[in-house]
Amino acid sequence: MRLSAARSVWVVRAVGLLGLLVGLLAGIPEGYTPSLAVVAVVLLGGVLGAFRPDHLGVSMTLAVVLVWWAIKLHTQVPAGTLAAAAGLVTAHVAGTLLSYGPRFMPIPAEVVRLWAVRGLLVWLAAPVVWFVARVYADHATPTSYWLAGLTAALMGAVVAAVVVPTRGGD
C-alpha cells in the first residue's frame, strides 16, 4: 500500500521551497535581481529538496545562491542579506524536519516549534555579522586579516573532519 505524504509534510516542503527562493530573491528591493536561469535552477533545487531533502543537489543549490550573491556583491552588505540568510536557514531547517522520517509520517507541531525557535536563534548570528561588516565597511581591511580568517576556517574544517565520524565508522 502506497501511503500519501502527510499534510504537515506538504506544508514543510512548501516552506522550505519558499525559504530557498527568499534566499535568492531577497535582494530585489535593493536592485539585486537574479536572472531567470538562476531562479529556475534554484527552483528546481528547491523542488528536489522538498522530496529528497538529503540529496547532494540541495547543498549545491544553496551553493548556487551563495555564488550568485558573491558575484553580485563586492564589499557591500545590504540589508537584504539578512532576509536571504533567514530564507537559507528556513530551507535548511525544513530539510532537517523532512529528513526525520518517511513522507507519510506527520511532523509533530512540537518538533516544528522547537526547530522554528532554533532557526530564529541561529539566524541571530546573521545580524551580528551584518552589523560588524557594516561597521568596518569603510575601513580598509589588512590582507593579514583575511589570511588569518582563512587559516581559522581551514583549521575549523580539519577539526570538523576529525570530529565527524564517517558512516558506519567509530
Binding site: 501511503l3 551563495l66 552588505v77 540568510a85 530539510g95 507519510f104 561588516a133 574544517a157
Partner: protein, 431 residues
C-alpha cells in the same frame, strides 16, 4: 540491540550545514565578500551546535507488544523499551505495513521526543496468522547532527481469532441425544416443558400430581415433562478455495471469511449452551477438533480456524473422510458447494438420518481470482458454468432433505433448526 560497531552517523542536515557553511566561508575569505559570511553565519552556528551534540553512548531498544492473541477488529499497543538514550533527542518509529493490519497513527510512523515515546496502536482486521510489530527505529542527537539507525526490530507472530458475536441461542436441536442440556428431547424426563398428563406410576414425584384431574378421574394423575438434553454438533468447514475479495472485518468478505466467521459463531453459540462441538476442516492442513465442551474447547476451535489456509486436502479424498457423526448429531456444512464430492458426502449424512444443514458462504457477485490475461474471458465463462453446476447441486441437496441457507449472522440457523425439529417430531411410518 546495540552491540557491535556504532550505529551513529552524521545526518544529511549536518553534512549540508558543514558543506554550505564551509563553502561560504571559503568564498568570503578568498574573494573578500563579507556579505556571504552574513548568509552562512547561521548555518555555521547550527553545524557547530550539532557537532557539540555528538553522542558518546549506544542506545538500547527492545520492542514490546501488549497482546499476542487477539480477535479480529480488536487492538493492541506496541511500545519501545529504551535505555542509554541520554544523548538522544528524538526517536522515529516506523512500523511495517502488513496486509490486514491497521495502524494508528496511519502508516505507523511516529516522531517523538526520547523522553515521551508514545505507543503505536495495532489492530488486525482479518483472522489468520499475522506478523505484527516489525519496525524500524532511528534516533537523532540534539540539533539533528547524528542519527542512530535505522535499526530493524523483529515483529511477532500473532494468531488472530475470528470475530464472534456473543449470542446464546443456537437454535433447537432436532434430535438431541445426550446428557443434561438445553434442548427439548423427544423422550419424557425431568425437564420444564409440559408433555402430557398421565396416570401415576411408582417413582413419580408427588409435586407433579395434578389434583384437579386426579379428583375428576378418581385416580392419581401426574403432569409429565420432556427431558432436556445436550446435543452434539459437527461443523464441516469447506476451505478448499477462497472466492471473492477480502478486505477485513466490517468490509467486503470473501467466501472463506464468511465460512470461518460462521463456524466461529456457531461453535460459540452451541458451546455456550453446553453442547458438544466438533470441527472438521477440509483443507491441506486438515484441522480437526473432536467433540468437546467449554470455553477452552472454544478457544481451541477458534485457534484451528485461525490457522486455516485454503487448498485441496492432501493425501485423502473427501469420500474417504470419516466425519464421526453419531446419531442425533447436528451436522452443519459450511461450504459454497462447488465440490460435487462434498455434496455427495453431505447427502450420505442426510441419508443416515442426521439433521444436516448447509450454510452457503458464497458472497453474491464473488468471482475467483484469475490472472488478467487473454484467457480472462474463458475464466469468466468457466466460472458461470461452475455457478450453474452449483445451483443444480444445491437444488439436489434441498430435494434430498438438506436445507441450504445463506449465512446471515448468528441467527441464521434458528428457523431452519426449528423446522427440522418439528419435522423430527412428526410420526413416522416404518417401511
Amino acid at each position: 540491540m546495540s552491540e557491535g560497531p556504532s550505529r551513529w552517523h552524521t545526518t544529511g542536515s549536518l553534512a549540508r550545514a558543514l558543506a554550505v557553511g564551509g563553502f561560504g566561508v571559503a568564498v568570503a575569505l578568498t574573494v573578500g565578500r563579507p556579505a556571504v559570511v552574513v548568509l552562512v553565519g547561521p548555518l555555521v552556528v547550527l553545524a557547530s551546535l550539532a557537532l557539540l551534540g555528538k553522542p558518546t553512548r549506544e542506545p538500547r531498544v527492545l520492542p514490546g507488544l501488549a497482546h499476542v492473541q487477539l480477535y479480529e477488529g480488536q487492538g493492541t499497543r506496541s511500545w519501545l523499551e529504551m535505555s542509554g538514550t541520554e544523548d538522544t533527542e528524538h526517536v522515529t518509529r516506523v512500523l511495517a505495513q502488513e496486509p490486514f493490519v491497521a495502524l494508528h497513527p496511519v502508516g505507523g510512523a511516529v516522531l517523538s521526543r526520547t523522553d515521551d515515546v508514545g505507543p503505536i496502536e495495532i489492530s488486525p482486521r482479518r483472522w489468520g496468522e499475522r506478523r505484527v510489530g516489525t519496525e524500524k527505529v532511528a534516533m537523532t542527537s540534539p540539533w539533528a547532527g547524528y542519527r542512530w539507525g535505522p535499526v530493524q526490530l523483529p515483529g511477532r507472530e500473532m494468531f488472530v481469532l475470528p470475530a464472534v458475536t456473543r449470542m446464546r441461542s443456537g437454535g433447537e436441536a432436532p434430535q438431541p441425544i445426550g446428557l443434561i442440556g438445553a434442548h427439548r428431547s423427544r423422550r419424557e424426563g425431568g425437564g420444564t416443558e409440559f408433555s402430557s398428563i398421565r396416570a401415576f406410576h411408582s417413582g413419580d414425584r408427588l409435586r407433579r400430581i395434578n389434583w384437579r384431574v386426579s379428583l375428576r378421574q378418581g385416580t392419581l394423575h401426574v403432569e409429565s415433562t420432556r427431558a432436556e438434553e445436550d446435543t452434539a454438533v459437527l461443523l464441516i468447514v469447506d476451505a478448499m478455495a477462497d472466492y471473492g475479495v477480502s478486505e477485513g472485518i466490517d468490509a467486503a468478505q470473501s467466501s472463506l471469511d464468511v465460512t470461518v466467521r460462521a463456524a466461529a459463531n456457531i461453535a460459540d453459540q452451541y458451546l455456550g449452551g453446553g453442547d458438544r462441538v466438533s470441527l472438521r476442516v477440509l483443507s491441506p492442513g486438515g484441522e480437526y477438533a473432536g467433540y468437546g465442551t467449554g470455553t477452552r474447547h472454544l478457544r481451541r476451535i477458534l485457534g484451528l480456524l485461525a490457522r486455516i489456509r485454503p487448498g485441496i486436502p492432501r493425501d485423502v479424498s473427501i469420500e474417504q473422510v470419516d466425519f464421526r457423526a453419531t446419531a442425533g448429531t447436528v451436522v452443519v456444512v459450511i461450504s459454497p458447494m462447488l465440490s460435487p464430492e462434498l455434496a455427495i458426502a453431505t447427502v450420505r449424512l442426510v441419508r443416515r438420518g442426521l439433521p444436516v444443514i448447509v450454510v452457503d458462504p458464497l458472497p453474491p457477485g464473488s468471482t475467483p481470482t484469475v490472472h488478467p490475461d487473454p484467457a480472462a474471458q474463458v475464466a469468466q465463462l468457466a466460472w458461470r458454468m461452475r455457478l450453474l453446476d452449483r445451483s443444480h447441486l444445491l437444488s439436489q441437496l434441498a430435494a434430498a432433505g438438506c436445507p441450504v441457507v445463506p449465512w446471515n449472522g448468528p441467527r441464521t440457523l434458528e428457523e431452519v433448526l426449528r423446522r427440522l425439529a418439528r419435522r423430527s417430531q412428526l410420526p413416522r411410518i416404518g417401511v
